[in-house]
């Protein structure tokens, strides 16, 4: 092709600084953490102001200062610690049972064809039943003591652990399994070296769902036929219209949720260090 046929001249090009517009002088700004804290603090301030001004009365929603005071009173008598401990023990026991069952079922269904045939369809059906709907049945079976609460948490946490761990076992990279085979790994070796380590990430996803579910179930289960635990505290407070105690208990549930989430993140950092190539300490 000949360039001579192109008669028009190319337009003149002006060069500008490549990073133009990005180099504007920085103003002094507040640190990001302070700015991020501003939102919640503003919310608390408005809430407190509404209460102090009498626009929202104590029986509707106690202001933050009252909630803190209620917390202080309950803590100083040791009552709060006692209820907290009872709730924590129920959740931990239920989780221990549920997570163990979920992992065991996922291993059976994930590693053995007959296990999948027998278990998976049944578990997928049961999974569709809302756990809290089992509450009346569980009360009939276990009465009104500790057992029904622990049982509900156990049932409610089995499924998310099972579903995610099973999917992770089945989703392990077939090419790695194949490579392992050519390098002489036996079936046991493949499970230990390839399948299980590859399923850890999926298990942790399931664990996170399970922890969220555990607290949710506990909030409801503890408000029925109990004489102890955070849910009981809420229930009692409802009778006396102590919204400060109710809000306090809810805040504690929230904190416990954050805490358990941090626990999973810690586990992820330890167990999945290879993902980011960090040195596991």
């Amino acid at each position: 092709m000949s360039a001579a046929t192109v008669a028009t001249r190319a337009p003149a090009v002006t060069l500008t600084e490549a990073s133009a517009g990005r180099g504007r002088p920085r103003r002094r700004r507040l640190p990001r953490s302070v700015r991020r804290a501003a939102g919640p603090l503003l919310l608390l301030a408005v809430w407190q102001a509404l209460g102090t001004a009498g626009i929202v009365d104590d029986r509707t929603l106690a202001p933050p200062v009252d909630v803190v005071r209620a917390g202080w009173e309950l803590a100083s008598t040791g009552e709060l610690a006692q209820h907290l401990w009872v709730s924590l023990r129920r959740v931990v026991t239920g989780l221990a049972v549920g997570v163990t069952a979920g992992v065991a079922l996922a291993l059976l269904a994930g590693l053995f064809r007959w296990g999948e045939d027998v278990l998976d369809s049944a578990l997928q059906v049961l999974r569709a039943v809302p756990v809290l709907g089992l509450l009346p049945l569980v009360i009939i079976w276990f009465g009104i003591g500790e057992q029904p609460k622990v049982a509900l948490v156990a049932i409610g946490t089995t499924f998310p652990v099972y579903v995610n761990t099973f999917a992770a076992i089945r989703g392990v990279d077939a090419r790695l399994v194949e490579a392992g085979t050519t390098f002489g790994l036996t079936r046991r070796g493949l499970v230990r070296e390839v399948v299980l380590p590859g399923a850890v990430a999926g298990f942790l996803v399931g664990l996170r769902f399970a922890l969220t579910a555990a607290w949710l179930i506990m909030i409801v289960a503890e408000q029925i036929n109990t004489t102890s635990g955070l849910g009981h505290l809420i229930n009692e407070a409802r009778v006396w219209a102590r919204t400060d105690v109710i809000v306090l208990a809810l805040a504690i549930y929230g904190l416990l949720g954050l805490l358990t989430d941090a626990l999973v993140r810690f586990l992820e950092r330890r167990l999945l260090a290879w993902r980011r190539g960090l040195e596991a300490s």
Partner: protein
């Protein structure tokens, strides 16, 4: 066929000849396929392949995509049992795949000795295999931190630490950039001279086959349509007339007219 089970350590000095005990002597077959057929549904991917690979022989297997190169390699690797015909291979064989296929949750050294016992002697062998591919410092690294070329070198170390009598390479350099690939070619030639396995390299790259192979095979339509030794001295620059003639012949066998332009 000699069963190649135990190997008695690696050569102590880098340039010493490999220990001959327990390994088939040079020239002995490490893979023999007779009348090998494989079909996927209606499609016959391998339509009667006869192939012999000797120890100490570097065979390049060329073919357009979909001609059954990889199927043939997978059959020799024992990853495809669904074939007709007889296939006998040395017990000591290793594979390097197109992707490194390292276990991301194991550090480099455990990946190299995967499937072997974890005795100090084995770990030491793993370390020297890493040293051979130039990655002695990376024994404790996570695979995720390696570059593509480094990861493939680990895969090569993992294959060689087993002292294979048959080394199967499934387009191992296909995903690497041109410079890294050239370095890998030199490394592979050096390692093969030292360990002297029988090698089957599956590739679609004619120049790669010419650079590395003692013998070139072209697979087309499920059959071997060309099988000839490359009797050229190394290095084999393309400017060399014999190299260029071989290159044209191979391209023609692959159905590419080398004189046609664009």
């Amino acid at each position: 066929m000699t069963a190649v089970g135990t190997t008695t350590g690696r050569p102590s000095a880098p340039d010493a000849p490999p220990a001959p005990e327990g390994r088939p002597p040079a020239g002995e077959h490490v893979a023999v396929a007779r009348g090998l057929r494989r079909r996927f549904g209606d499609r016959e991917v391998l339509a009667g392949v006869d192939l012999e690979i000797r120890r100490d022989e570097f065979v390049a297997l060329l073919g357009r995509s979909g001609t059954g190169k990889t199927t043939l390699l997978r059959t020799l690797a024992g990853l495809d049992a669904d074939h007709e015909g007889s296939v006998r291979v040395a017990a000591a064989r290793s594979v390097v795949f197109q992707e490194p296929r390292l276990l991301p949750w194991r550090r480099v050294l455990p990946n190299v000795v995967l499937g072997l016992d974890r005795t100090p002697a084995t770990l030491e062998r793993g370390r020297s295999a890493l040293a051979e591919v130039g990655l002695a410092d990376h024994a404790r690294a996570w695979p995720a931190t390696l570059s593509g070329g480094e990861a493939q070198r680990v895969a090569l170390a993992r294959a060689l630490v087993r002292e294979p009598a048959l080394l199967l390479l499934d387009e191992p350099f296909g995903a690497l950039d041109a410079l890294t690939r050239q370095r890998m070619h030199r490394l592979l030639r050096r390692l093969c001279r030292r360990h002297q396995p029988g090698v089957l390299l599956v590739t679609h790259d004619v120049d790669e086959a010419i650079t590395l192979a003692d013998r070139v095979i072209v697979l087309d339509g499920g059959r071997i349509t060309l099988d000839e030794p490359v009797g050229l001295p190394h290095p084999r620059p393309r400017s060399h007339d014999d190299v260029e003639r071989l290159r044209r012949r191979l391209l023609a066998a692959l159905g590419v007219d080398p004189t046609e332009d664009g």
